[in-house]
Symmetry: C2
């Protein structure tokens, strides 16, 4: 859209920005803050600016904020997509200084201070990029189609469909070798996502589905968790990781540590020189930042994350900030992990910094992440909690995990439904969302 | 799959039926009952055969039974797809004489008594076809892409996406004419589905979304319900239809009776000679039976429904039955409507008839449909109930509607969730499943 006629690059387009519609208004005097991405970081930034004397615009290509920590529950048929999503507009509806635009950002014009969205553009005085990350196949993009990752709702429903269809196909298959392949699940990467997925698939195969099939024994399913590093859950203390490994093994998951995946193809994976036939391969081995670094032409690290200043601004652009999984921040010589608390604290920090600048102050305090703890769940009622001094595994840890996740899930309705579904699955092992939906043929 | 070597037509294929896997077993002596379709009719047939001394096979191309009467709630973001679906295997898991096959039926070999599923086939002694219906565009199949119908989960999520994206697009649009088109919703056909959809869209536009947008006034949305017949809700008594019409109008729905749609294209519809620009057109004008009639080479009516005998068998094939929306049954000179109660009663009837035959008896009682009543809902708390002698509209009717629908919804978990979501939407007007999910690009 064109904003003013002097913007030569877009003067030929016919549409205008939403905010320029009230043409009768004088040129805006309020500072304009644009936030790209409504994940944990972007949403927290917007919420912390709710009373700002500014115009805030949140841009996201989806209409919903996604509670990614529970995405594996959707992929394993425990929750419906809508249960862990909330419309961004709905979350921010009472925040009158804020508007939400559903659009795909295509670039940043740093010189003119504009965010580009195809033919449209929007100006900013302050820009916050919180665009997240996607799966990293470490130089093997061709593996993606055989080993999908778990980042979006569509990823989750695709994996759900694949897992459920594998059992259906095995039920009507007669070749024992094919049945074995259909019932083999390989999780590549044993961070929290890989551990959670392997536990959930084990419960599905060994508990939830056992009485539903007549020809296959779902308990014969093979679930492999493969990790290149010397041990699983590298971000947790070793003692907790060791206990989790034992728990996984008791649940029927084969755990292979120090075993990088060497090859992935249509029929299986090569791990430690061994070819394992597997119909179901799921990738959770690492992430790579969104293209924000490219938009900015900024210096990035190996994972594509923008190397930011200590106040999370982009070098040379003190009014442009990068937060969350898209930013490379080191603290005490160690890179901060790509988890929700880091993104949320960064969002709050950047919002307060912008508020001070608007008030005419020049803040100097660098961003400091306060690690309040680290959580992961293994099975139906087993989690690990690392609060620094206090470490815990087992049922009590799981209750803590549950409380924290319910608390951070947005929306009262979603909390009630998630709690109910947990209770239901806890009591019955049944998973409520065992739905195979076909995709409509493109036409 | 091949069943025996003498079956020349399939002898060249390599796979075998699930049931022939136990090759060591002697040829089965139990009669084999095959049910195609696990909608209301097929599922009821299977359940009524739970104690049959027979082998029952249920074939469906989906893995789930769908509670179609609530599909419009999914299309209008009130429920998630999984809330109105249950895995067929899960419903029938305790029924040890029954197996479930997820496959697409491609034809029936009446001579050899086999159901064909591509390369596979399965033999039957008794066959029940309960394959439902799809939308009927009355000779204009090209309208389907502009005016999708509401029959499957994919239909519902597509319509949900289209409705929600229309509001998003209107929010960033500046051309008033385009905004008006984006916010115009035309429902073609005013049977229960059209009435329910128009009421739900009116609530979405006039209540649920009002505070979420900054540039458009969602209350300015235009919702048109267009019916070719002289009045809406043709299957209900006229007094109830008249009241419903007034209720719809109070909710902001424009009702046009006696107005056949003459043309549908990318930008709108022609109704009564008038061209109405509309971005959102939804088809609920009529159904056409599944291809079961073609599979059988049987005599069908105008809507493609198989003309069955008074015992619901196909003329000339006393062991082949057609029930539900796929069957053309007249009673007292009037055709039976394509509703769940007809299908379920037919399922029970056919199951009992087969049980008697297996027991060596020859039943003579023709199928008789007992109409227990007719229900439809108009808005958040308004329904119409026609129990023959007793007719009712309003809140109490809505409570009856709710109780009946919760009762027939399969699965305790689904019932609780649906009740909770109803209560939630009733109290807040908010709809929990306002999720726009992109379809993965075909690759």
């Amino acid at each position: 859209m064109k904003e003013t006629q002097e913007t030569a690059t877009t003067a030929s387009t016919t549409q205008t920005t939403p905010d320029t519609r009230n043409e009768q208004n004088p040129p805006a005097v309020l500072p304009r803050i644009v936030i790209v991405g409504a994940g944990f970081g972007g949403l927290k930034t917007a919420q912390a600016l709710s009373r700002a004397n500014a115009r805030v615009t949140v841009i996201d290509r989806q209409n919903h904020h996604l509670f990614q920590p529970l995405l594996y529950w959707v992929a394993t048929a425990g929750l419906s997509p809508a249960d862990i999503s909330s419309p961004i507009r709905s979350i921010l509806r009472r925040q009158k200084n804020t508007e939400v635009v559903m659009a795909e950002v295509t670039g940043i014009d740093l010189a003119q201070q504009r965010v580009l969205m195809g033919e449209h553009a929007v100006s900013y005085d302050y820009l916050v990029l919180a665009t997240g990350a996607h799966d990293n196949y470490f130089g093997h993009p061709e593996w993606e189609k055989y080993a999908p990752g778990l980042k979006t709702i569509v990823d989750a429903t695709s994996i759900r469909r694949q897992i459920l269809l594998a059992f259906e196909a095995a039920e009507v298959e007669t070749d024992p070798q094919k049945i074995r392949s259909l019932l083999t699940f390989v999780l590549v990467g044993a961070g929290p996502t890989g551990v959670e997925m392997s536990g959930a698939i084990a419960e599905l195969a060994h508990k939830a589905l056992t009485s539903d099939f007549r020809h296959i024994d779902t308990k014969s399913s093979r679930i492999l968790l493969v990790e290149a590093a010397p041990r699983i859950l590298a971000t947790f203390p070793e003692s907790l990781a060791r206990k989790s490994k034992r728990k996984l093994e008791r649940m029927g998951v084969e755990v292979r540590e120090g075993s990088p995946v060497e090859q992935v193809d249509e029929h299986g994976v090569v791990v430690g020189g061994e070819y394992i036939e597997a119909h179901n391969i799921i990738w959770s081995a690492g992430v790579s930042a969104s293209p924000a670094g490219k938009w900015l032409g900024a210096d990035v690290d190996r994972a594509g994350r923008v190397k930011v200043e200590s106040d999370l601004s982009v070098p040379g652009y003190p009014n442009v900030f990068v937060i969350g999984d898209t930013a490379s921040v080191t603290q005490k010589g160690k890179p901060l992990p790509g988890v929700a608390p880091v993104a949320m604290q960064a969002g709050r920090y950047v919002a307060s910094l912008i508020l001070q600048r608007i008030a005419g102050k020049e803040p100097h305090k660098p961003f400091h992440y306060l690690n309040k703890g680290n959580l992961a769940t293994v099975g139906r009622s087993y989690a690990l909690v690392d609060l620094g001094k206090m470490r815990m595994t087992g049922f009590l840890a799981w209750v803590i995990w549950l409380v924290v996740h319910i608390f951070y899930l947005i929306g009262f309705r979603n909390r009630i439904i998630a709690l109910f579904q947990w209770a239901w699955t806890y009591l019955t092992y049944h998973r409520g969302a065992r739905l195979i939906t076909q995709e409509r043929n493109p036409q």
